[in-house]
């Protein structure tokens, strides 16, 4: 939290060396972000393969492998993050509304 260090990097290529496939390394992340992000990205039609792993439990990093049929893997990651962000925004708003309505109802009943 102190110094803004780099938390996202890309693993060196696997020979095929095009932008269709990539493995991203998320520093200080685990299953929380990994699975949530994966669950969204695997459902894109242009994604051929998407999976995450935590290579070693004592190293706090998460690998995200993305292979696409067309386009760039990076764009899918960006889209995934944006969609997860929007999803969270929506969850937050929906929860807030529901909470407000619930508290209003409880107040009405007690009065």
């Amino acid at each position: 939290m102190a110094t803004p260090k780099k938390r996202l990097s890309q693993l060196a290529g696997d020979g095929s060396n095009d932008e269709k496939s990539a493995t991203f390394v998320f520093q200080d992340e685990g299953h929380t972000l990994g699975n949530a992000l994966r669950s969204i990205m695997v459902q894109y039609p242009e994604v051929e393969f998407c999976a995450y792993s935590v290579p070693h439990p004592s190293e706090s990093q998460m690998h995200m492998r993305i292979q696409v049929k067309s386009g760039r893997a990076v764009d899918i990651l960006r889209k995934g993050l944006e969609d997860l962000y929007r999803t969270c925004e929506h969850v937050s708003k929906t929860f807030d509304d529901a909470m407000g309505a619930f508290r209003g109802k409880v107040k009405m009943e007690t009065n």
Binding site: A2, L8, T32, Q43, R78, T87, F95, M99, F102
Partner: protein, 344 residues
């Protein structure tokens, strides 16, 4: 595979095993293409129960996948920040409880202080330079004495000694620097949530004198920073009576489920079992033990209906903690999105 219409999103619970879990590995609206609009359409939140103190909350997340629900649960437990005692400077401890054990006990005491009042600790802890932006200071000073006013024939420790029990209420806030100006009501705002946590027992001559420093942290680092006592979800159970159950069997069926789940209705002198409220069914699958009942019931869980129960430790209301958890996940996305700009 049948189409996943809303009604068919049932995870079947058979006598031996759950035959169709794979269908829900990536559940969303039947077709497998994700879009935000689709999510928005299918998603809803229902608040079910909140205790008057706001520390216990039960709510339903409907229409989201397990990965998202689990991400929120994991964040609730380990990534929403709270404030807890992190450093203890022991000036005097002549009680029988060892310094390190006492320090650990102090660390675990839940503190009432909104996490937003403190900044994140910057860098290493400096022994003689305590940062007032990121630290709250407390003092614990208790000396046990004989009670001079004790009746002669008194035998109980509470009568013959003074301060022989050290409670969390003995922890007093000590403002650092200008904190007393920033928080004029600090003595009320900062302190242990519960006043009656027993910290140590002492006898005359024993003394504990310590300076305690509390900082902001997250449960991933140490469980004492976790804002919740429990945060868990389960799937909504669903019970379908496919073959009518009547007479003595109806009552037997009722006893196979959690209280209040099955109702026995009497019409024209015939007892008949009906489903009253499947929500609080524990899914013990007890009815499978009765050969005449096991084919009458279809027990399942709704794959995209998550019943969350969040129990706050007491620093923040449960609803606030959940909002914070969603915020944490949002913040993660934002961080990596901005970093992505640099590598792509």
């Amino acid at each position: 595979m049948e189409k996943n219409s809303k009604k068919d999103r049932k995870i079947l619970m058979r006598e031996h095993g759950i035959p169709n879990t794979f269908e829900f590995a990536n559940l969303l609206d039947g077709s497998s293409v994700w879009s935000f609009e689709k999510f928005k359409k299918g998603f809803s939140v229902k608040i079910v129960r909140e205790t008057p103190d706001k520390f216990e909350l039960e709510f339903d997340l409907i229409g989201c996948n397990a990965a998202l629900a689990n991400a929120f649960r994991r964040i609730l437990l380990s990534e929403v920040p709270t404030i807890a005692i992190e450093k203890v400077y022991m000036f005097n401890n002549t009680s029988i409880i060892q310094d390190e054990v006492l320090s650990h006990r102090l660390g675990l005491i839940p503190l009432k202080a909104h996490p937003k009042v403190l900044e994140w600790p910057a860098g290493e802890w400096k022994q003689d330079e305590v940062d007032q932006q990121s630290t709250l200071s407390f003092e614990l000073k208790v000396t046990c004495k004989k009670n001079p006013q004790a009746p002669k024939d008194a035998r109980r420790p509470s009568d013959i000694y003074l301060h022989h029990n050290v409670y969390s209420s003995d922890i007093k806030w000590v403002p650092l620097g200008e904190q007393h100006l920033l928080h004029p009501d600090g003595a009320k705002k900062f302190g242990p949530i519960h006043d009656d946590i027993l910290i140590a027992k002492m006898r005359p001559g024993h003394e504990i004198h310590a300076q305690l420093y509390a900082v902001k942290g997250i449960g991933k680092d140490h469980a004492k920073f976790s804002p919740v006592a429990t945060a868990a979800y389960r799937l909504l159970p669903d019970i379908e009576i496919v073959k009518e159950v009547t007479g003595e069997a109806a009552e037997r069926l009722q006893s196979c489920f959690s209280p209040g789940v099955i109702d026995v209705k009497v019409s024209q002198g015939i007892k008949k079992a009906v489903v009253k409220d499947a929500r609080y069914e524990s899914c013990s699958r007890n009815f499978f033990r009765h050969d005449d009942l096991k084919d009458c019931i279809k027990l399942s869980r709704i794959a995209d209906h998550f019943i969350f129960t969040v129990e706050s430790v007491g620093a923040l209301p449960s609803s606030t903690i959940f909002i914070e958890a969603v915020e944490v996940l949002k913040e993660k996305c934002k961080t990596f999105l901005s970093e992505l700009e640099e590598i792509a």
